[in-house]
């Protein structure tokens, strides 16, 4: 295996492109710095997440020093969902995005109700009380989030978390593959995939599926590790990624290999502009990206118009 990795490292730049674009030529794919077939890749990734599921959140916090929470908050602010939005969170396993969505929509809804009440200054007490009751049953304003993940273990952890944190309404958990979603066309207002598209074997298929299930005017949002262009920062980042993270993985989750895969998969993932081109190819308009932390993470956004 070391030989594979060394060879892959040496030929990385060209190899990455070849492995990525050579889907038509043959089923050779990258799994971190290894070269595997498509089927093998899906299997291996499934196994990776099966084994990390229970410690997924803890590992996220320790690897990113808690900054991943900020990234996800920024994603939610960028989305700025209004009550009544139907969100599909793909590869949303442990539910981070879904819970944030519910919190956000709930607070927006509260503000809406307050504003409505302020306008009803001339109503009698009885009428105000009745309208408040009617709206109170609708604290989410008909917003819904569907969490879809290919991995049963991750969904299990997510469901447990939801129960533990007290999220009861507006959530659905569906087992599904991002490359072939079990949903009808034109259903969702927003499609998000946070730190998941890297693990999808056929990104183009996932993007096409995203386009399919979104309503016209719907928004595609992708939060993912990306390319750091600043050379100094890039070196520090590489150092941290390859030296610290797998060690953390071993110490906290008892799983060196999965976190080695994680770090390698980040390096193999297409950089910002390339991903943007892929999103445009799927048919999205007004595609653009926003770098967070100098490109360690990027949010890509596109609209189905």
């Amino acid at each position: 295996r070391c030989r594979w990795r060394c060879r892959a490292l040496l030929s990385r730049p060209a190899g990455a492109l070849r492995a990525h674009r050579g889907l038509a030529a043959g089923p050779e794919m990258h799994f971190g710095f290894q070269t595997v077939t498509e089927e093998e890749r899906r299997e291996k990734i499934y196994q990776v997440f099966e084994s990390v599921a229970k410690k997924y959140d803890v590992m996220n916090d320790s690897m990113t020093l808690g900054i991943h929470r900020v990234w996800k908050d920024i994603l939610m602010h960028k989305m700025n969902p209004s009550p009544g939005t139907l969100l599909l969170d793909v590869a949303g396993g442990t539910g981070d995005i879904a819970f944030r969505f519910i919190n956000y929509v709930r607070s927006v809804r509260e503000r809406q109700l307050q504003r409505k009440l302020r306008h009803h200054q001339n109503l009698s007490w009885q009428e105000i009380f009745e309208s408040y009751q009617k709206d109170n049953l609708n604290s989410l304003g008909d917003s819904q989030v569907v969490v879809c993940d290919i991995n049963r273990e991750m969904l299990k952890v997510g469901k447990q978390k939801a129960q533990h944190l007290g999220y009861t309404e507006g959530l659905s958990w569906v087992l599904g593959n991002a490359e072939e979603l079990p949903f009808d066309d034109d259903k969702f207002d927003v499609y998000t995939i946070a730190f998941g598209i890297r693990n999808v074997t056929r990104i183009d298929l996932a993007l096409q599926e995203a386009y399919r299930v979104l309503k016209p005017g719907g928004r595609f949002l992708c939060l993912e590790f990306s390319h750091v262009s600043n050379p100094l920062l890039s070196r520090l980042y590489d150092l941290y990624s390859f030296q610290v993270i797998p060690v953390l993985g071993e110490v906290i989750a008892g799983d060196w290999k999965s976190y080695q895969y994680l770090v390698e998969s980040i390096r193999r993932f297409p950089p910002q502009e390339e991903l943007k081109a892929m999103i445009e190819d799927a048919g999205f308009f007004k595609v653009d990206y926003e770098n967070l932390n100098f490109g360690i993470v990027a949010i890509h956004s596109g609209f189905k118009l």
Binding site: N80, K215, P216, Q272, F285, V287, E290, L305
Partner: protein, 294 residues
């Protein structure tokens, strides 16, 4: 670091929702004025479509008749126009834009295309009002040229133009203070200032060659001052039909006219004032140096 990229040759495929929205309009015959070529320079911003052309058809590059292509800017324009009717209820916010998108059959997430503080909606509204004002003034000018109307004296002309423009705010008057404060954000000042000055220039253009002693900058500044102050008065006016505002406007315009008559006096007075100031400055500096010496 945000990255914006305008894809040069892409046009929106009229998706089902968009086609449905435009099915209500009649198919327009292709005229040379509405021809747009997609090999135009990609950096060129799509010019704002006048309200008279609801859904122009474009010829493709080969000159053949193509399906209804609409650019992103046009779609955004349509969404903002639809959003205006929700402004009295929701204010100049992303919510109003979301409601507007809903009426066009799009998802509420389409409001994400715009900035979340609603500034684009306000700028859109302002430029629409300015366009309407230009049309109005042009029509009046035509009538005068055809001899069907009298040429108005300059003060009456300015008064009517500013009043017509301010009347367009009346449906949104409750939320207009909010809009003004958003337009004053540093980010929006370049665009809002641009729109304001072009409107003022427009009014002066149609006012024509009337003999005044103003030079170009003074004219701009004077009318801008009149417009802004009248707008602010209008925000706080509760009189029926805003008659207090129109009276205020009349007085300001009269002031401006009176000022022009004394412009020459002001100039010589100005010179005297400057000399006085220079003298004062010299005196002060002398006093300082003498004090320092002591």
């Amino acid at each position: 670091v945000r990255c914006q990229h305008y894809p040069p040759l892409r046009a929106l495929q009229a998706s089902a929702a968009l086609r449905r929205a435009s099915d209500g309009h009649q198919k327009e015959p292709l005229t040379s004025s509405s021809q747009q070529h997609f090999d135009s320079p990609p950096a060129a911003h799509q010019p704002e479509q006048e309200p008279q052309a609801p859904r122009p058809s474009y010829t493709g590059q080969g000159g053949q008749e193509s399906e209804d292509y609409e650019s992103e800017e046009q779609l955004q324009h349509r969404i903002l126009t639809a959003a205006l009717e929700f402004v009295p209820e929701h204010g100049w916010t992303a919510e109003a834009i979301a409601e507007g998108a809903k009426t066009l059959g799009l998802s509420v997430a389409a409001a994400g295309m715009f900035h979340s503080d609603g500034s684009e909606l306000i700028l859109h509204f302002v430029s629409e009002c300015n366009a309407k004002l230009s049309q109005l003034l042009e029509k009046e000018q035509k009538l005068v040229q055809l001899g069907e109307a009298e040429k108005k004296p300059i003060d009456e002309f300015l008064r009517d133009a500013v009043e017509a423009r301010l009347r367009m705010l009346i449906p949104y008057i409750e939320k207009w203070p909010q809009a003004l404060s958003i337009l004053l954000l540093p980010r929006n000042i370049p665009s809002s200032l641009n729109l304001l000055t072009s409107m003022i220039d427009d009014i002066w253009h149609y006012a024509g060659d009337q003999s005044t002693d103003f030079n170009w900058y003074t004219r701009r500044a004077v009318l801008t001052g009149i417009y802004n102050t009248t707008e602010l008065v209008m925000m706080q006016d509760s009189s029926p039909g805003f008659e207090d505002t129109w009276r205020f406007l009349e007085n300001r315009v009269a002031d401006a006219m009176a000022m022009s008559n004394t412009a020459s006096q002001v100039q010589s007075t100005g010179e005297a004032v400057v000399q006085g100031l220079m003298g004062a400055a010299v005196t002060v500096s002398n006093a300082e140096t003498s004090r320092a010496v002591r």
